[in-house]
Symmetry: C2
Subunit: 385 residues, 2 copies
């Protein structure tokens, strides 16, 4: 991973962050961008300012994050450049608001403020805010600048890397969107101190995923350090976030538009999306649904004879140690799973493709070439009807 990701000690404006800051470079040619990871980076308005072209910013946040960090973020930017015009729009908080109608509020605000093509949209919040702000930026006047300040583990390790943006449709998650890269991602790990325990665990689910699909060493480190992460030990958090970003950045750099290897990042997601859609957005957090989905994918991989049963057991144990669910809700039926998995974006020419584990820990495949009876067996094992 050397050429791509550098944990360089870049100079910082704030003394307290200087020691610990890590930088991950996402290598996408002329769309490359840095991810800064460290404590108290939100105080460092100068760093953000250097990635904001022009002199107008629209901060997009939600009602929860507004109270915690909007003023701080605005003040930091204004302190770095008093000339910067900073507007903001506050969306309702929750996956159930990740739709075109709520997204329209961002465009309404931008047009009311007469923001032009040189404007930068800044996402301040979790994955929902990041995805929505990114798509809003991609489509506003056919594209304005975009920076991200993710405030949840989930958004720091997943949605902040890779440029996938969008909103949900009643018939499927993330069905409407764009590939759109930010100019930088600023991860202030201190913001996790205010994150509810359940959301912390949801993000951890995606970290476990990187271990399963490509980084056995990270998986094993998590087996020994889950408690430290749940206690928000700054060093453990920073390590887990950095390793996750490096993993995702490597995958995305190899396959920006998801033609090949990038699809491995969807481990557990086809099952998980079906759970989220069936139960209604907001019932399960995304990482919770993915946690269940990863266990189901691992179960199916064992049934196919592709991995040793011990990997399934270790996966289940690790996810449970984070307090994550590992079985679908009673309401989910076999037929319900099949119906919902058929509209998944990973369906190609009518054939369902799944990310499944194969070989030793850290190995996986994306394939539609599996015995469908094994999928039926897994669904039967996890659903009572």
């Amino acid at each position: 991973m050397q050429p791509l990701a550098a944990a360089a000690a870049a100079p910082t404006a704030s003394a307290e962050s200087a020691a610990a800051m890590r930088v991950v470079e996402v290598d996408l040619g002329d769309r490359s961008y840095p991810i800064y990871i460290g404590q108290h980076l939100l105080n460092d308005g100068a760093r953000l300012r250097q990635h904001i072209p022009g002199n107008r910013v629209l901060i997009v946040t939600n009602t929860t994050i507004e109270k915690l960090y909007l003023q701080k973020c605005t003040d930091a930017l204004k302190a770095a450049d008093p000339q910067l015009q900073v507007d903001s729009v506050v969306l309702p908080d929750g996956e159930e608001y990740k739709n075109m109608e709520v997204l329209g509020q961002v465009w309404d605000k931008a047009l009311e403020c007469r923001l032009d093509r040189g404007t930068t949209f800044l996402a301040l919040g979790g994955g929902v805010i990041g995805d929505m702000t990114g798509f809003a930026a991609a489509a506003y006047q056919r594209g304005v600048h975009f920076v991200q300040v993710p405030t949840t583990v989930m958004s720091q390790v997943d949605s902040s890397v890779g440029g996938k943006t969008g909103v949900n449709h009643p018939l499927g998650k993330n069905m409407i969107g764009a590939f759109y890269q930010p100019r930088c991602v600023l991860i202030d790990t201190t913001t996790l101190d205010s994150l509810p325990r359940r959301e912390l665990a949801s993000g951890v689910s995606e970290i476990v995923k990187y271990g399963l699909i490509r980084d056995a060493e990270l998986f094993e480190w998590l087996e020994g350090n889950m408690q430290r992460i749940l206690e928000r030990d700054p060093e453990a958090i920073a390590h887990a976030v950095e390793r996750s970003c490096i993993n995702k950045a490597e995958v995305v750099a190899a396959d920006e538009k998801e033609g090949g290897v990038r699809a491995t990042l969807n481990l557990g997601h086809t099952f998980g999306h079906a759970i989220e859609t069936s139960t209604g957005y907001g019932t399960f957090l995304h990482g919770e649904a993915v946690s269940i989905g990863m266990v189901m994918a691992a179960d199916m991989s064992v049934r196919l004879g592709w991995i040793d049963a011990s990997i399934l057991q270790r996966t289940r144990t690790l996810l449970q140690s984070a307090g994550l669910p590992v079985t679908p809700p009673e309401s989910m039926s076999i037929a319900g799973f099949k119906e919902l998995m058929a509209v998944d974006k990973k369906v190609q020419a009518g054939k369902l493709r799944l990310v499944l584990l194969k070989g030793p820990l850290g190995g996986c495949v994306v394939t539609g070439d599996f015995d469908p009876a094994k999928l039926d067996e897994t669904l039967a094992a996890f659903c009572s009807h």
Copy 2:
């Protein structure tokens, strides 16, 4: 224009179109695509099929074009490949329906039909259908294939080249969208036989524009051949459409994302958009508003001393010979123009930039560097209040 545009006699499947078909290549690197221009090309399903990857097509059209060409287009595709699955969605006809809500009907239909990422969206209709279908394709599952079959002069000479897609917002035209290139454009000039006279003239307005901004020869040819175009003489139409596509393709190839020279294509559009917004979409056709806008821009250019008054007079005469309006409606006020022009996408860092004529016929500039008093004089000359 040699390296870019070739009027090559490519082989065709249909004898009646073989003689006359013209091909313009739009040169955009790995997003390059051909524009086919000729009579009866809509019968040539094989040509369309070769630009459709995969085996599912969603035809997007409107209630007017549905009756005229939907069955024909579907039949041609099915004749070329009986395996091809062809679905369609019919939108209401008119600029007033070019909004996110109506666009959502395309996504609803695509999801109901379970169309996957390998699907191709085919725009069958005028500029509104092309713009909406393009944006629908850009954002559906973060991007599916797109082909265009434009059926109006306006869409054949303007919106089919350059990849600008999008919808209107109550606060401004085309404010939400994407740059998204089709895989091919098929222009069947026979479809213009069913085009209302007023819409024909609206498209001619954009052809005149190419003459004014970069092609004096075309402008002069139009001065001698307007009647043939209005009578839909196939040769005259094909020549005007081809020359327009070549002009636009050259500009777009030089500047895909509108950083520089592409902005010249907006001659008359800043004034025109203000007229369209003020009167409500649908009152004026786009080309009609642009016609008025071009005369206003030419008037301002004369006042600035940048062009000879004869160019303004010839422009007015040529547009009037096509039956196009050359003065804004009585309802438009000086203040109204100023208010609406301030939210135009061409505003940069708060400063209004305009496309203005300069030098001999065929010369223009994009600039914010003009005496604002001359804009006031032009507005005063065209508005009674």
